[in-house]
Amino acid sequence: MTDSGKPLKQIHLAAHFPGVNNTTVWSDPRSGSHIEFESFRRFAQTAERALFDFLFLAEGLRLREQNGLIYDLDVVGRPDTFTVLAALAAVTDRLGLAGTINSTFNEPYEVARQFATLDHLSAGRAAWNVVTSWDAFTGENFRRGGYLPQEHRYERARSFLHAALTLFDSWHGDEISGDENTGEFLTDPEPGRFTVRDAFFDIEGQFNVPRSPQGRPVIFQAGDSDEGREFAAAEADAIFSRHGTKDAGQAFYSDVKGRMAKYGRDPDQLKVLPAATFVLADTDAEARELAEAVRFQQVSGQTAIRMLEQLWNRDLSGYDPDGPLPESDPELGEHTVARGRASVRMHRDPLATAREWRELAQAKGYSIRELIIHVTGRQNFIGSPRTIADAIDDLVQSDAADGFILVPHITPDGLDQFADNVVPLLQEKGVFRTEYAGSTLREHLGLHPLPVGDSTARTAAPEGATA
């Protein structure tokens, strides 16, 4: 029990195999392949040794470009998400296996099949981070091309998810009897029958994957916009957020969980999991020093210029990263300089951000590189194992989060230190499991078992109570 008499919340931890951004310090000699399966195996087995809830893989369906050229300063390239997760199911037993799969460049029948398959092959450990995009740039790699009006993307994503949930639920789990004496394999002559008709999809037939161990994959959502939060409150089992600080975290946490009542959902059934980076050392002072060094590795002079271009929306290659910021203002309008990158869309008011950055640089005497180091991606947790364990616990107990998705800056071994030194302290505090209690990801996350038919019932009547 805490001082306030509230029971201690159990912390959820996940590991994100880093993707293609400058978090990964690939120049470090310890940095391994981002493609070879051995890296994924080691990373996953460390996460499982540390009793994490799940491993997470992000997705990007077009290589990033800047100034019309393929971006070459960060890690480039990644394997297919489903395929790696299915292979990881072979070398882990309990770890949840989560992947981002885009709802814009896929079809519900195929995605539902892949997730139902992954759930079978992992004996109930699959999770789907439902994302949506609208860029024609990525669309150039796909049949449909590019395309969705931005305002329709959540509508389509919801439709897509509902279609997939209908498919997951089309088998109830009791269709296969397999009585070799009577010759009855199926109790139902038409298992998996479904019809979905709405503004985006017109599909019908029989789903051909029997009901999977979890009934459906655990559903994650990652958007931070108002529609994204609403989508999560209505549909998701977990939400990834960017709000790692206490105040911002608490505001986000109460906002999202507060939206759930109107969908008849228990706030405990949506886990809020911010992504977090960390730098660990024996002492806080060493960790601070190391964190600064890592930031300098993550943001080279060239990287600083490229990141500045992402706000300024034009070529700044003539600028000296060790010199002052440009005097002129960013180009407004469509982003033409950096493509295939979500972060450029986060600069909602480039003029105001540029003004802030200039003022900060002037006040502190920062060069371009120093400024970028300070305004982008500072590590969330920096310190000794004790300091980090305390910080994580405090954020969870004070309802700024239910846990964290950790992103190491060294792949694949960057998680080992955390597993060896921080996890035992959290266990000592009684806020993190000392063994897996269940075998499915739903169980790890404390999600109620799904009654058969639940997902469609909720979809049909968002105002009503769950079954």
């Binding site: 120049s27 493609i35 399966f37 990007g60 369906l61 077009r62 050229l69 393929i70 070459d72 300063l73 960060d74 890690v75 480039v76 390239g77 990644r78 297919d80 395929t83 790696v84 299915a86 292979a87 199911a89 072979a90 070398v91 896929n106 079809e107 029948y109 195929e110 099949r113 398959t117 992954l118 079978h120 092959l121 004996a123 150039e140 790699n141 796909f142 049949r143 088998w171 296969i176 009897s177 397999g178 070799e180 010759g183 009855e184 394999f185 199926l186 109790t187 002559p189 038409e190 298992p191 999809f201 599909i203 019908e204 037939g205 029989q206 789903f207 051909n208 994957v209 029997p210 080279s300």
Partner: protein, 403 residues
């Protein structure tokens, strides 16, 4: 060691085996286990113990049906299946030598996704991936996607010009699909990742290539998000029964599976394929031709025949297949394969009528018989599927163009 031409062997895995009553056999896996990793692992380990070149994993978006072009309502057949490429990925880290060849439809899938799926299967298996592209011609399958309409297909209309036109169109699309997948596999040169500390560059972007494919069915820009797979080009395996798919295989495949009913039928089919291969500009390229059999194997031939009869009775009809059916002893099958191979086949894909019985019969009965005749390997010679098939690792088309 013999200098006789070696036979290549593959096993086709599907459900409880290819006979519709296979699931009712006393040694069959319980129905609930047919969907799950452990059952698949047992099968592929048996095939690997038999030193087979590869296994194929059947797939399709439709629920299985005994009808040609529509769903049925039978309750006495195996129904339900998992995505074949993910089964293959799940098996890859737990096997070491055998090739893994999932079936993936070309008609309703994105070439970009398929390319990275097979490339990644090649990474997780360290060079043992293949791909069997399959056309999805049926209207009920199209309805699962709601993206295009396909005309209702009837088996009696297969020879009609309109039906042939539809089929030709689907195979044209499949050929484009394979072309895009192959270009994407080559869209990274092997040494594109440089991690150059001096210049801060992770890749040499001059070694990444836009594929800029524009066809009638889709356009794809590239490059892939996944680097070139370990084999460079994982083998493409195509099943073909007539001229249109022969031409597709001749243009697109590394291994073509054919179903001649008798040895005399082999030479004309092979000749047609070779001609189509030349027409596609691939003369001299290695394209392996495999025959197909459904096999019932027992030491005593009468036992095999009796077992087939018993299964047919349980199924309610004599088993029929697009492939010739063999029921007999492993030794007799070995003789037959040797004879058929001399008529122009490089190997065979065998479909076990029941699992585990007939798969065991292939691995532990047939294979020793072939080895005794000096016709089959006594150990894996290579670590990759291309290596075991005797296919060299191909040069990258874009690297050649640049050189």
């Amino acid at each position: 060691m013999s200098d006789k031409t070696q036979i290549h062997l593959a096993a086709a895995l599907d459900g409880a085996g290819w006979h519709p009553a296979a699931w009712r056999e006393p040694d069959a896996a319980p129905a609930a286990r047919l969907i799950g990793a452990a059952y698949w692992l047992e099968q592929v380990r048996t095939a690997q113990a038999g030193l087979l070149d590869f296994v194929t994993i059947e797939d399709g978006f439709l629920l299985q049906s005994d009808e040609f072009a529509s769903p049925d309502t039978r309750t006495d057949r195996v129904r339900g299946r998992l995505d074949a490429s993910l089964i293959a990925a799940r098996l890859a880290p737990l096997t070491a030598h055998i090739g893994l060849v999932p079936t993936v439809t070309t008609t309703h899938t994105e070439p970009f996704h398929v390319s990275k799926t097979i490339a990644t299967l090649d990474y997780v298996s360290t060079g043992r991936a293949g791909w069997r592209p399959q056309v999805g011609a049926l209207a009920p399958e199209a309805a699962l996607f709601g993206r295009r309409d396909l005309p209702a297909l009837r088996v009696e209309d297969l020879a009609e010009p309109e039906t042939q036109a539809v089929i030709r169109e689907l195979f044209d699309e499949a050929a484009d699909h394979v072309e895009v997948v192959r270009r994407l596999w080559d869209s990274w040169e092997d040494d594109a990742e440089i991690r150059d500390l001096a210049t801060g560059r992770f890749i040499d972007r001059e070694k990444l290539h836009y594929i800029d494919f524009t066809g009638r069915h889709f356009s794809v820009r590239g490059p892939s998000i996944t680097p070139r797979p370990p084999q460079g080009q994982p083998p493409v395996v195509a099943l073909a029964h007539s001229s249109v798919p022969y031409a597709f295989a001749a243009r697109s495949a590394d291994v073509v599976l054919i179903t001649p009913p008798d040895p005399d039928a082999i030479a004309p089919i092979v000749a047609e394929i070779r001609q189509a291969q030349a027409a596609a500009g691939r003369e001299g390229e290695r394209l392996l031709v495999f025959g197909e059999f459904v096999v019932f194997l027992d030491e005593a031939p009468v036992t095999a025949l009796a077992r087939k009869e018993r299964l047919d009775e349980a199924a309610g009809a004599p088993y029929r297949s697009d492939a010739p059916i063999f029921a007999g002893s492993p030794a007799a099958l070995a003789d037959q394969l040797a004879q058929w191979a001399r008529s122009g086949l490089d190997g065979f894909r065998l479909r076990p009528a029941t699992v585990p019985h007939d798969l065991d019969g292939i691995a532990y009965g047939l294979v020793p018989e072939l080895q005794r005749r000096g016709l089959f390997r006594s150990g894996y010679a290579a670590d990759t599927l291309r290596g075991n098939l005797g296919l060299p690792r191909p040069a990258n088309r874009y690297a050649t163009a640049a050189a």
